[in-house]
Symmetry: C2
Subunit: 296 residues, 2 copies
Amino acid sequence: MRIGAIEAGGTKFVCGIGNEHGVIEDRIHFPTELPEQTMFRVISYFESHQVDAIGIGAFGPLDLRPDSSTYGYITTTPKAGWAQYPFLDTLRSHYEVPYGWDTDVNAAAFGEAAWGAAKGLDSCVYYTVGTGVGAGVYAEGRLIHGMVHPEGGHVPIRRLPEDDFSGVCPFHQECLEGMASGPAIEARWKRKGSELPADHPAWSMEAHYIAQAVSGTILMLSPQKVILGGGVMQQSQLFPMVRKEVCRYLNGYVQAEALLEDMDNYIVPPALGAEAGLYGALALGLEAWKKSKALP
Amino acid sequence: MRIGAIEAGGTKFVCGIGNEHGVIEDRIHFPTELPEQTMFRVISYFESHQVDAIGIGAFGPLDLRPDSSTYGYITTTPKAGWAQYPFLDTLRSHYEVPYGWDTDVNAAAFGEAAWGAAKGLDSCVYYTVGTGVGAGVYAEGRLIHGMVHPEGGHVPIRRLPEDDFSGVCPFHQECLEGMASGPAIEARWKRKGSELPADHPAWSMEAHYIAQAVSGTILMLSPQKVILGGGVMQQSQLFPMVRKEVCRYLNGYVQAEALLEDMDNYIVPPALGAEAGLYGALALGLEAWKKSKALP
């Protein structure tokens, strides 16, 4: 069996071909341009690689409601050309295969649950902290959507008293993305995060804000694993700092061994690294194929 | 068919008998005393009312992991006599029927999803705001548990600048329960909430804190309905205030009709009123019965 995987990011697309064992055998990537150009490259790729199903994890917001007339669309994105773009219909007009369709962060959570850090668990939350901040939620063995889909990058957080930065989110004062995304770090400290030394005060502040959101998520959802990915989390010194801040906030309230005794294995980087989203798209494609065959 | 329902609250137990159509035909309530006395009354009630299954929504924290040796226990509660109490085993030793077992707030969410404000939807979040604050989460057609179970009353919130109250939670500075529970209102204003007039500044502060948590939940989980119950929410003037504050925070970011145009039907009181938990216990019992018969 061959499953196609598309990680449709705001700056980069990755297409791949994999199998039901979570092995990706081929991949290609190219920059995200206007939809016509970008989708032409996607379609060309799958013309030379026949597949039984395709899974897609895409930048959003997306229409994920199967009964909606705009199901499969990218909806209100500010990204030029992509607003109200019928992503799934475009592919469907070329390839009649089962499709899996979800957000990039839900895909990453699903990939980690299938073959990564949350393998064998029935819940995890995946955060990406980079140019944007997003959260994918996997609970009780399935991805969570609800009314639209999680937008966990925009949860309210409380400002540290020593931080007078105004935030970069045009919608919210003091949301996680506004205060802790890559662009927020750069705007606050006038240097890119990648140029700041590991002991710069930027990182303890960053860890504090991420830990607030993670603490809230642990209390609200009690995931079995919290996975932190994205460009900012390449700063590996953040992991022990985030863990410590989460412990400090929870203060022993949640009586779970994972939190009390094994935090190093509870808040972790993606086991699939930067490819969590691509593996997740593969897992979405596989799930779509199974559904089409009425397999569990 | 007759299904037993037990709403095991920290101050009051309610036992009832209902059917698969969500009709409760008989009910009894009594204060929560020591387990021996209280469970004696529960067992006596079901001796005179034979049932095919029993559902329980209980105060926690609880052990909900079916593979755990202490599954069915109330675990680390400070309530005298109830810590590490084998609730389910005690009932099982008297009645061999299928049991449903979940938190009081998950039960309430489930009741509202079965027969209340979220009927026909596949997601909702139920908050109780009273002596304690808790949250039940229903998503993708099932109750969410994860590692332990949601403890949404303890999510971090940010203090209003004009509020110098230190909070009543012994674990967290500035969590929702610590700042917005009934005891927090009483400690802050030196009067019970029920004695404060509807235009007292306590209520705008209360609405602000509840709205913070609700906004975070909408962003993280995108529930199709948010239901606010519990003693404090008897102050019905809170509903329009909470809705307004949630709109103010979200600021149009989440493009969903329910939020942009129909907030009055999105953040609502429980349709089952104070009996959401009892109906939820009935729904849990019915689910357990169906599972035992391998019905969907």
